[in-house]
């Protein structure tokens, strides 16, 4: 259990080279404070491992406790459809403490994306299917909370969570090399 079952594809949001020796897949929820807290650590890991690591982000919104997680994920996908996924991803986490639909629309405008098109996409659920597909793939892979990380397809199970993610990546590089 706890093995990534949905392979990384071109439908994914990926930062880093396809030739990287480590693929780090994060399942996250934009309204989850632990995901927000993990964000700077993930950035440090990306900087430290540079060309050795590619990061994939997938949605795992816990909508029963985080009502803005779903529209936030759909907003990131909306931005992604116009090549702006990662700037929106970062902007949403940076604004996590004051998330609202109005704020999401403002973030879109800041990235020169059409606020009206975003409102339409949210109202129609244009990107709900993509978010749901991420969620179900996560469930089948044993995602057990947010954030959940997979290092080269293996779930990172540690009581320290993201705090010893870098050490676990080091270990994977040693083992797989």
């Amino acid at each position: 259990m706890g093995r990534l079952k949905s392979p990384v594809t071109s439908r994914d949001h990926i930062q880093g080279s396809d030739n990287a020796i480590v693929t780090l897949v994060e399942y996250g929820d934009y309204q989850c404070p632990y995901c927000g807290a993990a964000q700077p650590i993930v950035k440090q890991i990306q900087a430290r491992f540079a060309g050795k690591l590619r990061l994939v982000f997938r949605h795992f919104p816990l909508v029963e406790v985080h009502p803005l997680a779903q529209p936030s994920a759909e907003t990131a996908e909306f931005a992604g459809s116009q090549g702006r996924f990662w700037p929106m991803h970062d902007a949403i986490y940076a604004n996590q403490h004051q998330l609202s639909i109005t704020r999401l629309v403002t973030l879109a405008a800041n990235l020169h994306l059409s606020p009206i098109a975003l409102r339409d996409a949210l109202a129609l659920g244009t990107y709900a299917g993509k978010v749901q597909a991420d969620f179900i793939g996560g469930v089948r892979s044993g995602v057990n909370g947010t954030p959940t990380f997979f290092i080269n397809g293996v779930r990172h199970d540690s009581p320290l969570g993201v705090m010893d993610l870098a050490a676990a990546i080091d270990q994977t590089i040693l083992t797989d090399a």
């Binding site: 706890g2 989850c32 816990l62 029963e64 969620f135 469930v139 089948r140 892979s141 044993g142 995602v143």
Partner: protein
């Protein structure tokens, strides 16, 4: 103590599901049930095991299975926890005598006095068809449960009518 294994008849139980309502295993006869033992309500994380399963309920139901959670917390505690997390399934209180049902499934930790993180899938005949014991600190997720449900044949509906789901939460 090791947990009950595949092929074992699931021990019956009757436990409080709310302060004034009880639920028995026998009420699930003819239906499939996921029995999820867990140590305690109120884990300080967003995606604790019960909250996670709450989000996966539609998948469980699509596989024709109901879910109940069991811990040694009392019915009032469960009620507050379920409200806080907006849970849409029943939590059973294995409270008095403490842990008796957990013990009957081999899923009780004497040292801490709490249930193990143990999962059971019980078929329509009341037989355990899958079980899994997770390290206490590791939320097992739901992939094992869904794999187990998928391996079962489709449930035939006896009279063609849709099954009534009791709202017990």
């Amino acid at each position: 103590m090791s947990i009950l294994t595949v092929g074992t008849k699931a021990p019956d139980f009757t436990l409080n599901v709310t302060p004034d309502q009880k639920l028995s295993l026998s009420e699930f006869a003819g239906r499939r049930l996921i029995l999820a033992f867990y140590p305690a309500d109120w884990s300080p994380v967003c995606g604790d095991q019960m909250s996670l399963y709450n989000h996966i309920l539609p998948e469980f139901r699509r596989h024709q299975a109901e879910l109940v959670g069991v811990s040694v917390d009392g019915a009032w505690c469960h009620q507050a926890f379920a409200r806080d997390r907006n849970l849409h399934f029943a939590l059973l209180a294995d409270f008095e005598p403490k842990g008796a049902v957990s013990k009957s499934y081999g899923a009780y930790r004497n040292t801490e006095g709490v249930a193990e993180r143990a999962l059971f899938v019980i078929d329509e005949n009341g037989t355990i068809v899958w079980s899994y014991l997770s390290p206490i600190a590791v939320n097992p997720g739901a992939d094992g449960i869904l794999d187990a449900l998928e391996a079962l044949p489709d449930l035939e509906k006896k009279d063609g009518s849709s099954q009534v789901t009791r709202d017990v939460a």
